[in-house]
Symmetry: C2
Subunit: 306 residues, 2 copies
């Protein structure tokens, strides 16, 4: 399954194909970490295999293709692109497990199932999250081409850390029950969700050997896509049911969180999401037909129902 | 301060010197992460600057010297060794912050001060710990010689992860109120504390370009030292007061934890610590006088009062 899907696939087909690729990779972790306590690996697998959209790995692999990454003679993906796809999904999953903890968002439901700490207990959920971070970096350092390991590790670590996702979570927490200006909300989301989505695109590009203008184009694409993603996420929290979303809804308002709809209304938010989609598409127009699946994924992000 | 101390220093002098080197490095983090939320960086600094022994950075830097690492013309350490020293202390500190959480060991006191979550709240302590992990890998990937980055990242990640420190914490948790055999206790500690101490020695060796027999000697040294360290830690928990140790004592027994003294008595434990020290020293006898500070540190680990 470690090959590229047809560029003509629609977004659900692309996501399914890349999702299977990354799931097959995750299925090898139990053997790879044979010396680890069984219950820890169960807790990690429980969350890794919970069936998310796998949007970030798909972005890594399609950014790799869009930047000229070529499969081997047997059609297989480069080890660097595959390692980056698995690593970013590990980081994303870790962040969900820790976000759901009682001390954080205190959520009982995630992707339609009990959250990790509800099943494995709080201590194990903390440790499973911690372990996923170390595994992400171990996989990158072991499996990617050594020539790109420093850049890949730097990219993933920076996007996850104090100036990226984790910093954004702190701002999110500090912003509860405080009225933020729109520019502050954008800043928060550029860190909290934007950094990892942008990194998905940049990791794929770096694995393909991209630099200069091409890497900048992927950075811009990821930035606009990240903002669009968060606006749509906020909209879905207002307009969906828990059954559709697989997690609690309407919780942003209940927690006094700032959202795009709460700051500028539903209609303006929808328009801004569409504008960000247009800007994302424009950023990669020079990449030609190899980047068509990236455009398909970007449209999906903005137009998805759940 | 980024130079090597006199090899004739005693252990407190060596630790003070290397401690100042790593503290000076940590003092640059606020500027390096200027885009991070201030409160997050405060929480991270609170724990990083709490004045631990800095044993792991000292082991990195002395292993580097023992394996032939040479200072630059200005006496400065290699960037790789310094980055590895800072990275391993970040990982060690993260593990303390998460270990102290209410869902884990629920400790109020660490190094004589309130624990991180007592000061900054549980959510911030979780996020600060998470951030320290990403920072460790970012520093390694950015500051070390690119030629050794893959090996350094792999080493640190493996020692921290499911088959290393985090796996050991899970075993420790699972072993509470269960009678372990001595071999199971040794296995637990090889993971929980031994992995990171061994990695300290190996990181320094790798930064110095060591391989083959020399790297193996450092691995053996670190393994024996790690076991000795844990036995002494268990002994100190029984024989010290909280004032001496800067944290709660006698808590192992209260929690139904297995320890060397509880399984084999105080005298046999003391003898085993001495045997491990002898084995550690023997492992690096071929390294000659450049490894003398490593022997000094090993003796300190076993003979320390607190």
């Amino acid at each position: 399954m470690s090959d590229l899907p047809s560029p003509k696939f629609d977004a659900p087909q692309l996501l399914r194909h890349h999702g299977q690729t990354v799931a097959a990779y995750f299925a090898t972790l139990r053997k790879r970490y044979a010396g680890a306590p069984a219950r820890l690996m169960e807790s990690i697998e429980y969350s890794l295999m919970a069936g998310g959209k796998r949007l970030r790995p798909a972005l890594v692999l399609e950014s790799w293709r869009g930047c000229g990454g070529r499969s081997g003679g047997d059609g297989s993906l480069s080890r660097s692109a595959l390692a980056a796809a698995a690593a970013i999904e590990l980081i994303h999953t870790f962040s969900l497990v820790h976000d759901d903890l009682p001390a954080m968002d205190d959520d009982d439901l995630r992707r339609g199932r009990p959250t990790n700490h509800k099943v494995f207990g709080e201590a194990m959920a903390i440790l499973a999250g911690d372990a996923m971070v170390t595994m992400a970096f171990e996989i990158l350092a072991s499996d990617a081409d050594p020539a790109v390991v420093p850049a890949l590790v730097r990219e993933l670590a920076a996007a996850s850390g104090p100036e990226g996702m984790i910093g954004g979570q702190v701002l999110d927490m500090e912003g509860e029950n405080v009225q933020l200006a729109l520019e502050q909300l954008r800043h928060l989301h550029r860190m909290k969700t934007g950094a990892l989505l942008t990194a998905s695109c940049r990791l794929g590009a770096i694995a393909a050997g991209a630099a200069g203008e091409v890497l900048q184009a992927m950075t811009d694409f990821g930035g606009h896509l990240g903002l669009a993603f968060q606006i749509v996420d906020d909209l879905l929290d207002v307009t969906s049911t828990p059954e559709q979303l697989g997690k609690a809804t309407k919780k942003d308002a209940g927690k006094g969180k700032n959202t795009y709809p709460s700051l500028q209304g539903i209609e303006v938010s929808r328009r801004e999401a569409a504008d960000q989609l247009a800007a994302a598409t424009k950023a990669i127009e020079t990449l030609g037909p190899a980047a068509e699946p990236l455009r398909t994924l970007a449209r999906f992000v903005v137009q998805r129902e759940v």
